[in-house]
Amino acid sequence: MCMTSVQAKKESNRIIDYLKDLKIDFKNNPLKFTFILPVVLFFVIFLVIPTSMVFISAFRTETGAFSLEFFKLILGSEKFIDWGGDTQSKWLSVKRIDKPAGSEKWIILNGKNYGVILNSVIIAVLTTIFSLIIGISLALFMAKRDFIGKKVVSLLILVPLIVPPFVGGVGFFTMLGETGIINEQFLVKIFGVRIILKGIVAMVFVESFHYYTLIYLNVYSSLINIDPSLEEQAKNLGAKGFRLLRTITLPLALPGIAAGSILTFILALEDLGTPIVFGANGDSIAKNTMTYYIFQNLELNNPNSINVIPGDSSVIGTILLLLAVIGFFMIRKYVAMRSYSMTGKGRAGDRQTPKASTTETVLFYIFYTMIFLLSILVHIGVIIRAFSVGPEFPPNWSMENFNFIFSSANDVKPFVINTMVYSLLSLLVIIVFGVMAAYAIARFDFKGKSVFDALITIPIALPGVVIGLGYLVMFSDSAVFDVFGAIGVNTNVKLTLDPFVYPVILLICSYAIRKFPFAVRSIFAGMQQTSVDLEEAAQNMGANRSMTLATITMPLISLNIVAGSLIAFVYTISEVSTTLVLISDQDAGTITWYMGNYAANKISIFAALGVLLMVMQIISLIFSNILLGNRSEAMTGI
């Protein structure tokens, strides 16, 4: 399939023309390139190449020879794909358990083991379905009815966002575990029944009550953007109730539903925290998920291998990446920057949201209270553990764990400080590159704009573990520069990307890359809502483009920058996957690293640190909510 010489000539002419265009473009508008190139370079170095390295190591042996053996092995093995599921486990089983003190009825909800790859996909699909049911129901009522306490409910709905699944595990076992408070103190004592959630069911439960908020936020923002006249016309033509909902409202809200559900699917697929927590508690299905498999098999025992990661982990990483990217491209239409302007144009017309009837309100509150209680049980569990000593019930209330965290003898504070420093430094990177990227997309026309757009939004879809593994492969053994030492300042700060020597720079970059879309979206929204006329007016008065940016645009969008940054901050301080993969040095540890590696020795200390994380997140969320107001959909990046 050789290219003919004519074709080759055509092709080279095309490239030369493109480069010529680029040169003219650059001469006419150097600022454009100053904005685009650094962002592209940053993403290529810290995203494209590292993830490609993982991809490459999936195709080579220990000596570097090309091989598809790992793929064959994994795709052909029941451990990874078992269509029938294991024969021993059941989705639901009811048993009578006889103990010397009396018998109990055990209701066990489990799920089968379908292999590492299928388990992850099934968990992600079921999580999406359940999150959709909860999220859409809440969003419909919140958007379509006015009722007493609506403002409070709108805040409470966001509560699940503030506990990372990683922390939630402790709360889950304290409250809903086999010997948790609900079972021991209520169900067994009163009804003689023990409800046990395990395997796929347990993970879908935990994830659904975390991710329904994403669906809610997306669907809600879609619903309130629907032009009310469309629904009114339908009503005038006789459609009402379910028919109106099915034929008009839901189809119009489809962008939000699609975006929210695929985002949920991707996040559930790449979730590492939940499988770690359940896997570590003896759940064999949780261990058989893609993220857990990669995490568990991270350490390569062969120091002479050309690959830093074992081949099978790379294959799983690649599969995870492909699934996430496919998901991403399915919603790209909705998440691409340019379509954001749709939500930025203001609310569609004035409308009066009808008041809910008493029956509706009562029914809603019954439904919502159930959802709310189930979603905050985990928080309550974490709080009980943090403020008490030992697993006894009623709890032995005490501040001992917090005294431990804040005592001078125990070295926990540096982790809190590290977390703040890394998160804030990564914010700085996000803000600088975010403003550049958002400005470039909002104000410039250039070739490859859609590729650029995809590049900066795709981190939403990329699993942290894969990025972490990529960094290990790419940056191990990079050069170390003791810049501060050279100027006579003694410090442990080294200018290197080698994660084993000084992982901080890599961590900051990984945080910045991973949370970039969350902030840049808010900044872009600001740009969209700021009229270009103001900037043009400044330019007519003689200001050049950079001056206009500094004096007109930046002040106008500053609110969006701060709000977007706070959102990124909420996610950064609780980042788990790249943190656990990259840090191997106590000095560089963050709160989540400490929790993952050592605080787990003492469960109550783990919970106390979890509460600390939650408080930091709540403060950031309150700030961003105040600053963003109704535009809270920007929180999800959609």
Binding site: D86, N492, S565, I603
Partner: protein, 499 residues
């Protein structure tokens, strides 16, 4: 700038400025920058957790040893602990010319032997240090060597703390399920500890995730022999569940989700402190003492600091810091210090540890089979756990319902849990499995599928009553029509052995 201000930055821009100020303040508070004193840094690579390293750092800086090395109590940043958890990290760290690791401390004998083999430890030849070691560290404790020599017969590490291996029980749980208090590994392998396929009475760690549990399984394999050892491990796993790392294994017993958990002694002590009904047990004649090493790094750049830290951690004063961390010191003198006299509980544990008849543990055999053992356990026990439990459940139920007698039960179970490879094969394959990830993956696949089919064939073979004849064939007694299924089971078992 003035024009920016004229446009009115607004509170949000001020917020950005505040963020940047906070960053700078945080870095300064973070203490990354030194106070400029000229004393060189002491770099220690370790697997000890941060509460231990913090306690030792403070105590060392306050001690005369810290002073002799030129440090003041404020020089906290001068003692730099590199908390590295991965093997890769240890090899990179100890070999790094820029890091210049002075000491390696904590991580178990196997890790230190690997570092020694890689030529990353500096032999201890200094006469003063040798004398200090001889005066404070016994040659052996309960049969375990506290000194390790390299191939040139030079001392490369010395034990600094000791630990035993056993299990922690939750008395409440055992009472609730009517289970007898266990004293040996065999007790845990008893059918009595099987309560149901959905109930785990024992929590075991996955050896690929925990070095202490790896040690425990090696002890069992050496005490009972390779075949019997695997049978005991499989029976224990079938009574219980696999709980990942050592921390999670221990959490399960504290939360009363299981009755027994595999633990190293200090996790047992932690458990006792967190849960009043928990108790650490050293299995009768079934444990060993481990010396947790300290050694000098080959690239060390701070000889004085390293020497003084070594002297400190071997002194009675330094050894007493272990007691504050609920750990057992190697130097008995530490119990005579002021703080040491208060820890009668640990003195009792120390005495019990020494009094317990340790097994004759072969360290080289343990290293030679370790990787294979960890991965075989992962493949044949962890990945086939539901099938394993179901097969064991069937055998136990048949025994309890007297469908089979005890002799048949024992021989059936021995057959079922017979390892798929011999000890010699494990030794022979160890290096290849480490060096070749592809072979490892495909070997593990084979082990898992063979184990699963063996267990499933047994569970699904609907045999009501059978006995094993002298010719090692299974003869049906009441249901000859099911001969086909039994033959299938035997065939699968035999195939799996030959695979």
């Amino acid at each position: 700038m003035s024009s920016i201000l004229k446009t009115g930055l607004g509170k949000a821009m001020i917020a950005i400025v505040v963020i940047i100020v906070v960053i700078i303040a945080a870095i300064i508070i973070g203490g990354n920058f030194d106070d400029g004193s000229d004393v060189p840094e002491l770099v220690i690579i370790t697997r000890h957790d941060t509460t231990i390293t913090s306690a030792f750092r403070l105590a060392f800086l306050k001690s005369s040893y810290g002073k002799a090395a030129g440090y003041s109590p404020e020089d906290i940043n001068k003692i730099d602990f590199k908390q590295v958890t991965t093997l890769q990290g240890w090899l990179t760290g100890l070999g790094s010319d820029s890091l210049k690791v002075d000491l390696a401390w904590g991580g178990g004998p196997t890790l230190f032997n690997q570092m020694g083999d890689a030529g990353l430890l500096k032999p201890i030849t200094d006469v003063e240090l040798l004398d200090i070691a001889n005066a404070s560290v016994p040659k052996e404790i309960a049969g375990a060597e506290m000194y390790h020599y390299d191939k040139q017969n030079k001392l490369d590490w010395v034990a600094n703390a000791i630990s035993s291996f056993g299990f922690t029980i939750n008395n409440d749980y055992l009472k609730e399920y009517g289970l007898a208090k266990p004293n040996t590994w065999e007790d845990l392998a008893s059918p009595d500890y099987f309560v149901g396929t959905d109930i785990n009475t024992i929590s075991m760690g996955n050896p690929t995730e925990t070095t202490s549990n790896t040690r425990i399984y090696q002890i069992i394999l050496q005490k009972y022999g390779w075949e019997k050892g695997w049978e005991i491990l499989s029976r224990m796993a079938a009574n219980g569940g696999i709980y990942g790392g050592s921390v999670e294994t221990r959490s399960a017993v504290i939360d009363k989700r299981v009755g027994v958990a595999m633990t190293i002694d200090f996790y047992g002590v932690f458990a006792q402190l967190e849960c009043s009904t928990c108790e650490y047990i050293i299995p009768e004649n079934g444990s060993i003492v481990n010396g947790d090493p300290i050694a000098f790094g080959i690239k060390s750049g701070n000889e004085l600091g390293a020497k003084e830290f070594f002297k400190f951690v071997n002194s009675a004063e330094g050894q007493a810091v272990w007691l504050s961390q609920d750990r057992l010191p190697v130097n008995l003198q530490s119990f005579n210090t002021t703080s040491g006299k208060q820890r009668t509980d640990l003195k009792q544990l120390y005495d019990d540890t020494i009094a317990n008849q340790g097994i004759n543990f072969d360290e080289s055999l343990s290293t030679a089979t370790e990787f294979t053992m960890q991965n075989y356990f992962d493949a044949a026990i962890v990945d086939a756990h539901p099938e394993l439990k179901a097969a064991w459940g069937k055998a136990v139920n048949d025994l309890k319902s007297e469908t089979i007698d005890e002799a048949t039960f024992n021989s059936t179970v021995s057959n079922l849990f017979k390892p798929q490879l011999t000890k010699d094969e494990a030794i022979a394959n160890n290096g290849k499995l480490i060096a070749d990830a592809l072979t490892l993956s495909s070997q593990k696949n084979t082990w898992t599928s063979t184990a699963k089919s063996t267990y499933t064939a047994y569970t699904s073979a609907n045999i009501y009553n059978y006995e094993k004849s002298n010719e090692n064939t299974i003869r049906l007694i009441e249901h000859p029509q099911q001969l086909y299924e039994v033959n299938y089971f035997v065939t699968v078992c035999e195939l799996s052995r030959n695979d």
